[in-house]
């Protein structure tokens, strides 16, 4: 009872302690006691958090060496999927799902990913006809952790984000492992396993500042047009979200027995999008993200490995990945563009690294991956012709035993939004459909459900 009270101090109590000078230090015992006997749930009966993430790479795959010919559990791992062999039991591959444009133009390296993120095909480049599914899911489940969502770009480019509430409200990504480390584990981080807890008086005052701003701006929306009113509302929502985070900071964080604070930010990548540099950046950010998840910093995350018109470069080569997809001849025997294909191999290796990192991070009686669902996709299938048919998609993780894994699932040419819809339903989004026109999905993918 003492602990519960301490974990939820009232604003009045903290103000009494803080604003009159004496900061409060609360001693607590160590925390495995918070877990049930087998560690699969909190002792109070709540399940371990269900997490959702996205992982993106650009410029598709080479179907001749990527797509298995068999469906089900015993599909064959072809050359380009080989790096995923070690995480095969944790993932599902989805093929034969399409993006239908309903007469709109196929905007190269744009239409595909937009449709897979928000369920609708854009009418023009730059348009985003809806919010991305991670935002919808974050609205549903993101409360209660320090950050409602985290977005990271392995490219290091500030515009490489596929998480958005609208075209004018794209969530900015973390672009450097150093900064991401500071954001996660810098001075504001509260160790959930610390035996003592000292609420920070500055945090309380910061919260008061934000409350004051909300108070002061009442009525500010008067005389504004509808769209500007919405923008101002979004501003207030952002303030309230930050306020909520500070409120959480004033409470003893829930236990996270597998949380180990990284000592450093890992290897620092240089600038640019050379494959080797992106590889370093992506892996460093992935490692930090794993600990951020293990330390309950968020329940929703997005990782971009390469952008949709991937301009990744290989040292000494005149041509970027994107240029190669258009200028390199297709090897008539193998049916692939060998140099372009080399870049896809690197993307799949990094996807395997990401899944393995989640699988190797312990949590409760299993791993982070066991309590998560990750949705991965690209922007097209064969970049040379920007094909929107059978854009490969993956999931990773079993989401607390609710998702079957190890499968290659045949979409039978249905709209690819079926997967995004299924993810949302699994994450508890109360919706009966997702997407518009031919991209509307109303049924979950039953093969992946337990």
């Amino acid at each position: 009872m003492l602990i519960r009270t301490t974990r939820n101090p009232t604003r009045r109590r903290l103000l009494k302690g803080l604003l009159r000078g004496g900061a409060v230090t609360v001693s607590l015992p160590f925390l495995d006691m918070f877990l049930n006997e087998n560690g699969s749930a909190l002792a109070a009966g709540q399940p371990l958090p269900a997490r959702f993430g996205t992982w993106f790479w650009g410029l598709g795959v080479d179907k001749e060496i990527f797509l298995p010919t068999k469906y089900g559990a015993d599909y064959e791992m072809r050359a380009q999927m080989k790096p995923l062999e070690k995480v095969r039991k944790h993932i599902n591959l989805f093929s034969n799902y399409n993006v239908f444009t309903d007469g709109k133009s196929n905007l190269c390296h744009y239409t595909g990913w937009v449709a897979l993120r928000c369920g609708s095909v854009p009418a023009s480049r730059g348009g985003l006809p809806g919010e991305s599914l991670d935002v919808t899911i974050s609205d549903a489940v993101g409360a209660g952790s320090r950050f409602r969502s985290l977005t990271l770009a392995g490219t290091g480019v500030a515009r490489d984000s596929y998480s958005f509430r609208s075209a004018d409200a794209v969530n900015p990504p973390e672009t450097s492992a150093v900064e991401f480390y500071q954001k996660m584990f810098g001075p504001e981080f509260q160790d959930p396993n610390s035996p003592t807890f000292t609420p920070d008086e500055t945090t309380m005052l910061r919260k008061s500042v934000l409350s004051g701003v909300l108070e002061e701006t009442k009525g500010l929306e008067r005389d504004l047009g509808a769209s500007d009113r919405q923008r101002l509302d979004q501003y207030f929502t952002s303030i309230r979200e930050l306020e909520g985070r500070l409120e959480l900071q004033l409470q003893k964080p829930p236990p996270a027995p597998n949380c180990v604070i990284p000592k450093t930010h890992g290897k620092e990548a240089g600038i640019g999008v050379d494959v080797e540099v992106v590889d370093v950046r992506h892996k460093a950010m992935t490692d930090l993200l794993m600990m951020a998840l293990a330390c309950n910093q968020t329940k929703v995350f997005n990782m971009v490995y390469s952008d949709s018109a991937a301009s990744l470069v290989r040292q000494g080569s005149e041509r970027t990945h994107h240029i190669l997809t258009h200028e390199e001849p297709v090897d008539p025997d193998k049916g692939i563009q060998p140099n372009a294909s080399w870049f896809v191999d690197r993307a799949i290796e990094n996807w395997a690294y990401f899944v393995e990192a989640m699988a190797n991070t312990r949590e409760g009686d299993g791993s982070l991956l066991d309590h998560s669902l990750v949705y991965a996709h690209t922007d097209c299938q064969f970049a040379k012709v920007h094909s929107l048919e059978s854009i490969p998609m993956f999931t990773a993780g079993s989401l607390n035993g609710r998702v079957r894994t190890g499968l290659h699932i045949d979409g039978k040419e249905q709209a690819a939004t079926a997967l995004g819809y299924t993810c949302q339903r699994l994450m508890g989004v109360p919706t009966s459909s997702w997407g518009t026109q031919s991209m509307q999905a109303t049924r979950e993918i039953s093969e992946m459900l337990v």
Binding site: G21, C108, A169, V209, L210, E216, T217, L232, S238, V273
Partner: protein
């Protein structure tokens, strides 16, 4: 002593395509025609105006405002979330931008950092106008004095009594518990810096005494429009005072302020901000070249090449007050040691310093198109790209739209392993035998090929893969032999003139240019064709126009014209 003078005093003390798709091009051609029709002394066409804007302050506006209010030694490393580039400008995108939680995170963190510095022992003595009776306790009178003074400069209008009372109360409450007056003040200042009244530039209307029932932008909104355009910063005390006295509503008062601002040192930062946006220079945030192919193009060179083009532009337009069109032909530039090596010019420059340099008359470099910034920005990491360069010129400098390639673009000729293409021109000529491709490439490639004597890092070369490079071509019917010739063709291009005027106007009013404003842009262009395209002349033409402050329904002439329309 006013805050501005205190800061200045302290600083001194511290010492420290396809023809059918050229939609925008068509619109600009209409403007150019309108310009020809507009004779000497023609009246400004009526415009319908637009609704007042609510713009998110840009990163540079934030930095300049903080520096202008509190002094340049307040460290401020804020990095704003990117906004969507709209109609060629981030400044236009800012009028629809939303502050996401991720964006607010950074803003709140920066606000705390700035506020803490303003009241620290180094700065409190001259940035806070009064001494508290007791530093360890609240002092509402002193807090009120500071917050009303700073609030005026940051909210760009006087704080309402309610706003001020809440801030003073916050300062007082936060000073308790032994934290003291200055700590309390820092929390109150943080609340100013994180408030939408500061970060969103909101325009407000007031009753227009000259028209019964009419409305107009209020003086403070006009002051902000002027100041963010000319100085890339919030209005200073003098401009706000003029706004308070209603002087921006009459021609004499407006001219007094505008002329003062045009001749102030802050004009340079205003010009830099516009050209950073106009020239899409945020691309340099992540620009890198292949270190094997272009070992001389380091991260430092990338940064300095961006700086070089900005220094060239401000030297040319602000310091020398020369014509915008001459930027495409000028042989003057500003050079750093790293760039001198890349340009292979014999010049000794100390590290981290800059020096004026003039290319010789016979040098292949002339104008900003032949500077490393443009050449490297519109190229691939490992090779040049005539198509990217051509597209950059069309879209950025001529405000024309080049369509995307079709999804099923056919590169089979280029892909042929038996084909021997030594130069980009040979490669593109082969690619363009496909009429689907040729339609758009003929818009971009002839221009881009003129710059082929500069590789992907902007270094001069005579040959590519052993074959001589032919840089001749034509821009909209004007033929040239080389890059300098392209610069001359750009100098004389009506589309280039129409583009800069259109972008500058959109940047100033903070919204897209409406189709109904074509005649207005034509009118501007006709004026400038007579006076020349000096920056100050362009700015005067725009800010002295009736249209610049016109909001929807406020231009009586426009209302009359609409009423008379069939």
């Amino acid at each position: 002593m006013s805050l501005r003078f205190r800061v200045a005093f302290a600083a001194a003390t511290i010492g420290a395509i396809c023809a059918s798709a050229m939609v925008a091009g068509g619109a600009l051609a209409t403007q150019a025609q309108a310009a020809q029709k507009t004779g000497d002394g023609a009246a400004e066409p009526a415009t319908p105006g637009a609704a007042p804007t609510l713009r998110l302050m840009s990163q540079s506006q934030y930095i300049h405002t903080i520096a202008n209010v509190f002094g340049p030694d307040i460290a401020n490393n804020i990095r704003f979330a990117p906004v969507k580039r709209t109609d060629g400008l981030l400044a236009v995108g800012a009028s629809a931008a939303v502050v996401t939680p991720g964006a607010l995170d950074r803003l709140e963190s920066a606000a705390r950092s700035v506020a803490a510095q303003v009241v620290d022992v180094r700065h409190q003595g001259y940035l806070v106008p009064c001494k508290p009776a007791d530093e360890k306790a609240r002092d509402d009178a002193c807090a009120r004095q500071f917050l009303s003074e700073v609030g005026l400069l940051l909210y760009r209008r006087p704080l309402t009594e309610r706003e001020l009372a809440l801030k003073v109360d916050l300062a007082g409450a936060s000073a308790g518990g032994g934290r003291g007056f200055y700590r309390g003040l820092s929390f109150a200042l943080t609340s100013v810096l994180v408030a939408p009244q500061f970060l969103l530039i909101r325009e407000s209307l007031e009753a227009d005494p000259n028209r019964v029932g009419g409305r107009r932008l209020d003086g403070y909104s006009k002051a902000a429009r002027l100041s963010f355009l000319l100085w890339d910063s919030a209005p200073d005390e003098e401009l706000l005072a003029a706004a308070a006295r209603g002087e921006l509503h009459n021609e004499v008062g407006l001219r007094r302020q505008v002329e003062r601002m045009l001749s102030a040192p802050q004009m340079e930062q205003g010009a830099r901000a516009f050209f950073e946006d106009f020239l899409v220079l945020e691309a340099f945030d992540n620009l890198a070249k292949d270190p094997v192919i272009y070992p001389a193009f380091t991260a430092t060179v990338a940064k300095e090449s961006r700086e070089q083009v900005l220094r060239t532009v401000t030297d040319h337009l602000v310091a020398r007050r020369e014509d915008y069109r001459d930027l495409f032909t000028t042989r003057r530039t500003i050079m750093s040691a790293g760039l001198a090596s890349l340009y292979r010019v014999p010049m000794l420059i100390k590290p981290k310093s800059w020096a004026a340099y003039e290319f010789a008359a016979e040098d292949p470099r002339a104008g900003i198109l032949t500077q490393v910034a443009f050449l490297s920005q519109y190229a691939h990491p490992g090779r040049s790209s005539p198509t990217r360069r051509g597209r950059g010129i069309r879209e950025v400098l001529m405000c024309q739209h080049v369509p995307d390639p079709p999804p099923n673009v056919d590169f089979s000729i280029v892909e042929d392993p038996n084909a021997k293409f030594s130069t980009a021109k040979e490669r593109l000529t082969a690619h363009n035998t496909d009429p689907t491709c040729a339609g758009c490439h003929k818009i971009t490639d002839p221009i881009g090929l003129a710059l082929e004597k500069f590789d992907g890092a902007g270094q001069f070369r005579e040959t590519e893969h052993g074959a001589a490079i032919d840089a001749s071509g034509a821009l909209d019917g004007v033929r040239y032999a080389d890059a300098a010739g392209l610069g001359r063709a750009m100098h004389d291009s009506p589309a280039v003139r129409a583009c800069i005027v259109s972008r500058l106007y959109a940047y100033g009013v903070g919204r897209p240019v409406a189709k109904e404003e074509d005649a207005l842009l034509g009118y501007f262009q006709a004026q400038l064709d007579r006076t020349g395209y000096r920056l100050n002349d362009m700015l005067r033409t725009i800010v002295y126009s009736r249209a610049f402050f016109t909001i929807q329904g406020s231009d009586p002439q426009a209302t009359r014209t609409a009423a008379l329309a069939p």
